[in-house]
């Protein structure tokens, strides 16, 4: 993966409710902390120049595959592998959905044939373990701790 220049995105909203945005590219090698500090300074000087209000600030670090890879296999984008995780806080969950999920990882026997994802498959179990051991969390900051269910969803 090749690193692209980090981008600061400022989203504006005007009195009519219309949305707009501006993007500022940052120097190569800028860290997340440096980008956030720079964004605060930029925002402070740019906001007074607009009659719209800044409602959201995003910093995006992008990496692109090079050369462009050729998609393989017959699975389509909506054919997603849904991985539902239990999180650290009681009764909280996280959803990770893998697009164009390969059918070879779906169970072929039993009541869940064609729907359930085979958690005994080493590729699947390794992916689950990696996600649990990572810094991933749910939208509310609760750590992912264990797998609850995995099956196909058309999303």
């Amino acid at each position: 993966m090749l690193a692209e220049l980090p981008i600061l995105i400022l989203d504006f909203i005007d009195a009519s409710g219309s949305l707009g945005s501006m993007q500022i590219r940052m120097k190569s090698g800028t860290t997340a902390a440096a980008a956030q500090a720079a964004a605060a300074v930029l925002r402070a000087h740019l906001a007074p120049l607009s009659g719209a209000v800044i409602v959201q600030e995003s910093i995006r670090f992008s990496f692109v595959a090079s050369p462009n890879p050729t998609p393989s296999g017959a699975t389509l984008m909506p054919h997603m592998g849904a991985f539902i995780f239990n999180c650290a806080d009681a009764d909280t969950y996280a959803m990770l959905a893998i697009p164009a999920f390969k059918s070879e990882y779906v169970e072929t026997t039993g009541a869940g044939a064609g729907v359930l994802i085979d958690q005994t498959n080493s590729d699947v179990s390794n992916a689950i373990t990696t996600i649990i051991d990572s810094i991933a969390c749910n939208p509310f900051g609760s750590d992912i701790v264990s797998i609850a269910a995995t099956y196909l969803q058309w999303r």
Partner: protein, 179 residues
Amino acid sequence: MSRYTLPSDWADSPCYVVSIHSALIPIIIGQLRLLEARGSWIDQTNYQRGYNAVLEFEACVMAACLNDMLDIQRATYRMLDTAIYGTAYTIESTDPLVVSPEIPAARDLAFSDQDSVLGRLDRVNKLVDNSVNGTSNDLYSASPSVKDLLQSIIDAMSSETTDLDSILSQLETVVLLLG
């Protein structure tokens, strides 16, 4: 687009079991992605509550609930099979749970262990039959039976040479046999 709210006591409401063809699950459940988005909920509190409620439901659809119910049913069958018929089950592995022998589609009345419910009833039946009727079986073969002793008493009392001590002894034996 309408935005939703979710009551804080939603988890206290009763559950309904819904049957759904497995082929429809990916399509129908996949539509719930709309409820996983912040924009579907009226505010952050309802979003957090709704997101977790929806994901709990999505997890329950294919995995935990039905499997737990089936496991409990199978465990109940094995418990009754062991108690009534004396069938011995062995846990081959715990994760996944594998127990042998497999639960059959149908079974007969033959029991495997004399200490089972049917086994104990069988023992009582054979004891009574041997004690009272004198029928010999695989568990009991005592002799003479209650009927034999009573007949002896009747015969003795009918004869001219009645031995009261002998009759009394036989009556005592009848009492012992009857418990």
